[in-house]
Every structure is written in C-alpha cells, then in structure tokens.
Symmetry: C2
Subunit: 147 residues, 2 copies
Amino acid sequence: MDTQAAHEILTKHLKSNGKQRATPERFAILDAVLQSQGHFDVEALYYRLISNGVKVSKATVYNTLEVLQECGLVSKYRFAENTSRYEKAFGRPHHHHMICLNCGDIIEFTSDRLERIQEEMANSKGFEIQSTTIQIFGTCSKCRKKV
Amino acid sequence: MDTQAAHEILTKHLKSNGKQRATPERFAILDAVLQSQGHFDVEALYYRLISNGVKVSKATVYNTLEVLQECGLVSKYRFAENTSRYEKAFGRPHHHHMICLNCGDIIEFTSDRLERIQEEMANSKGFEIQSTTIQIFGTCSKCRKKV
DNA sequence: CTCGGTGCAAATGCTTTGCAATGTC
DNA sequence: GACATTGCAAAGCATTTGCACCGAG
C-alpha cells in the first residue's frame, strides 16, 4: 500500500487537531498496521512491533490505534469475543463480515445495495451516518460440508 | 408478554439438551428479562433482581443469559463500549440499531430488504446464517439540531 | 522551554472460574 | 443418590490510568 499517503493522512490529522504531536511511535505503529493482512488484535500488533525491534508500550499501541481510527486509517470491530479487533482501512473499500461460529473464519463482502438501503434508513430517521457495521454470524461453507 | 410461552421455550430447551436442569433461578432471571424494556446490561439486570428480592449471584445471571441466548429468548449485543448489552428477543421482530455516538441513544429499525439482501449474500458464499447484526453509528436527529 | 506523549506498573471493570454446598432429576 | 447448578470470592483479561521522564514544536 501507499505508505507515504497514509503518513500524510496521519500528519495532517495530527496537525489539524492543533495539539497532537507527530511521534516516531505513532508512525511506527501505522507502518505495522499497513503491513498487516486481515484482522488483528492489540496483542498481535504489539507482538509484531516488539519482534521487529520497535520499542513501544501497549498503552501507546492502544492510544495510537484510537488516533488512527479517528483519521480513518483503521477500523475497529467487535465480533463475538471480548477482544477488539482492528484492520487497516486505508485503500480498502468499505466492507462487511460473515463470521463462522464454528471455525472462526471471517469472510468479507461488499454490497452497494446494502450501503444504499442503510443510507435510506438513516435518512428516514434524520440520522447522520458516521460508520456502519454488518455482521452475519453462522456457519461457513467448509464447516457445513464437514457436518 | 406471554410469560408462559417463554417458560415453555426455556423448559423445552433445557430438556432437549439432556442434562440441563430447570432451576428456579433460571426462571426468575427469565421473568426479569421479560419485564425489561429495551437494552440492559448484566449489572442492571442483577440489580433489578436483587431489588425484587430474588436471591441470585452475578455468575448465575451470566450463565443464564447464555442459556437464554441459546434458545433465542434474548439477544446479546456489543456496541461501542466494553460491556455486553442484552435485550429480550421473545415476541419481537428481528431488528437492527442506529447508535448515536453523541448521546448514546439507540434507535431500532427493521428492513425486510436488508434481511433479504443479507440472505442473498450469504447464499452466494454458501454461508448458513444463524444471526445477523447491523449497527449504524453516527449522530441522531436530536443531536444534529443542537450543534 | 512547554506541555503532549511515552513507558511502566498498578488499577479498573467485565466476565469467568474453582470449589464446596445445594437441590433437581 | 448423582451430578448439574449455585454462590461466593478469587482469578483472568483487555483496556485504562497515574505519574515521572522524555522529546516534539
């Protein structure tokens, strides 16, 4: 992905907020996020950072993920478990998830029609959408065959 | 609501599982759930039970809510916060939520079209739906007017 | 030089667990 | 009686917080 563009987004966001500072930790975490594939939790991201020799604390990872979320570079999800999961949102279309309750697999999908209907529903209630999440829980095709 | 019908569902579910027992605590918790309006968390439900003179432990509340979820009498949600929220699912149509990030208000809505498209999406992936959740985060009409 | 950010470790708060006592089947 | 369930308190975890130190602006 375009690392530079992502850095710029973060830089701009930090400046626009007036008092937020551009620290090396924040960019290091952003880089790690950009390199990630699929969903990850704080633990995994933290571990990857440490493994790569980046010296950060978990508190900073939490803090930074929140900042990255604010500027739309990462999305935060909460599936069935008690852990928050994240994924990079840069350069990716808005999508949703089918979560297999048997094997834990997550299948992503997009649907313009779903987006459109959601907008209609929101408009009809005078609600202004900031983000939407659709989660379909069930059994994936692989697991269905096994039974 | 039809308390008796709900009791029957629970009874049947417990029996069908072979080893689960029908304890007074479980029915007391079910009753408290049936009396609830809207969403609640474990804390609130527990407090209400205690206030009503029902002697249960929080552990049992957690346990029972899981059982009730299994037999479709309650739904569990996870919105933005770190607390699980529940609501009774008995005698209610399947619906979704718009969550106001400003005032925390939750607006419920239903949409046959959304349900249908979700089914189509799942079918096309060979995915078997067990439950679905749609959450629209944003700003409600009341809060929009205030700004 | 200021004040926001970081690291660490302790604290918090929801949820789960271990185990003896209880009561359903 | 056997054993699932309960209550209690302790343990687990993910996440947050307090505070001294550091370093971006």
